[in-house]
Symmetry: C2
Subunit: 318 residues, 2 copies
Amino acid sequence: MMCTMQDSVTEFEIIKRICSGKTTRDHRVLIGPGDDLALIQASAPGESSSGSDRMLLGVDQLVDGIHVDLSRVSLEEAGRKAVCRSLSDVAAMAGRPVATLVSAVVPAEWNDGQAMALFDAMKSAADEHHAPLVGGDLAVHHEPDGRLTCSVTVVGAPSDIGVVSRFDAEAGDGLYVTGELGGSWRGRHHLDFTPRLAESAMLLAILGNRLHAMIDISDGLGRDAAHMVERSDLQVIIDAESLPCREGFGVQQAVGDGEDYELLFAASGDVPEGLGNCAVTRIGAFKIKDDASDPDVLLRQNGDLSDISRAGWEHQSR
Amino acid sequence: MMCTMQDSVTEFEIIKRICSGKTTRDHRVLIGPGDDLALIQASAPGESSSGSDRMLLGVDQLVDGIHVDLSRVSLEEAGRKAVCRSLSDVAAMAGRPVATLVSAVVPAEWNDGQAMALFDAMKSAADEHHAPLVGGDLAVHHEPDGRLTCSVTVVGAPSDIGVVSRFDAEAGDGLYVTGELGGSWRGRHHLDFTPRLAESAMLLAILGNRLHAMIDISDGLGRDAAHMVERSDLQVIIDAESLPCREGFGVQQAVGDGEDYELLFAASGDVPEGLGNCAVTRIGAFKIKDDASDPDVLLRQNGDLSDISRAGWEHQSR
């Protein structure tokens, strides 16, 4: 269930290149690419900003054959998933959804009804989570076997308390996760999950500045925990026995399946065991690495430690 | 040079469907889909808004074989065009660019260098116009002949004076255009135009609330002038003799070629004949239709009147 990047063009390399851009840094970019979403301030540099002109922004694609398989998934499910994945990123930043924009290139053989089913599903999901669809663009593939490509941009507003980056965990923090993990793809959870927006807002309200870092699990627990420490000297140690595995699935699936769209967060002090109907489970802790070459994420199981920093999906092989 | 919609899925129908959505209207959407960009207020309904939390948003795609032909155009040119088209929409709303997000699905045979050339070109164009690239997503086609699809989301800030919709022309207004028209595709203007951001800001500063309506010419003069009156009882009459035709091209090209990315605007009173190095030409006027069934846009040439409301491109056949 684990894979590595094999394509001629790797997303990782491109994103890294964009992140490390050498052009003049723009003072309006408060958090750049690399986190779940970027944080932007609309005011021109030099102008005073009240904070109300700050927005969270991100874009994500859904491609038939990579993120969904339209031979097994309805257009309604695909459209819903495309929007909810992006809203999960708003939850990961502890933000509030504001708006959604979608674009798609659809197969040449589609009829109007199919295109409308897709857009209606995206619009419904966006409306349901108070992120109204305010822009759309549609094109039709010229090649006879061109498959659906779909891009979703999400706009969020940061909480008044602030945003929660994925990178700011501290040594001694506990690692927590909402809900259950594993089997998302086989169990179709990846098609009907609810973005953890309410839970995220509750967490921030309850924990305040003890909520140090947060990410949503899309790649997989191993890879996403590794993302949390990639800019620090921290190591994550996860206890296999504590993992809230979905019924019918085990530790391996919980660690590596991905697409759980649960919140994975670092916090200090007491953390509630539930948020409404949603369980919260402590699954590990952060410590400073003994050596810089130590693995980013270790799984402790039956007394053994294994490196799970690369456990998860690159989203190229589904 | 004129074409009509022939594809099984027509953008027009989809966009119309989105615009007329029956779900609860969201009070944060001040201008919805249908204008060059949407205008959104981030504050939740009921909260007071200082106006600084308003943003302009839009999304546009660039597809190989539709909007560019990568057998004749470099990746640098394609990337630049993708971003500049979106920035031209910010100009049309008299806004200020804030940020850009891009996503692409690239052909399976591309190497890293090709993907980076495309993203670098988009990043450069975005930086050049102070719309830093803050989000990106990349995927690779699985089909061997899948062609480049690229989506650009642009975020703008409205001017302190306000935004300029495409729909608010008044009877008696003059119709004006910046620069020259026609031959954009054959002359490659569509690959190296500069979004009219500076001119747009000057126009708003000079004309204030006499600048009633504005759009950028992408579909073509005929179709875009028709867009300006589609929600009103107005008719546009354009004088062929006044058209600022690009050297080597005539009235037919100026009316129907499209992709000029010039500003087309409605204003009352005196209008300057130039903005810096950019000419401004009065090419027609708005009047109330004698009959509701009258054409939206007429061209007066040698004493004859012809309906040019459909003159332009649907962007499906290039």
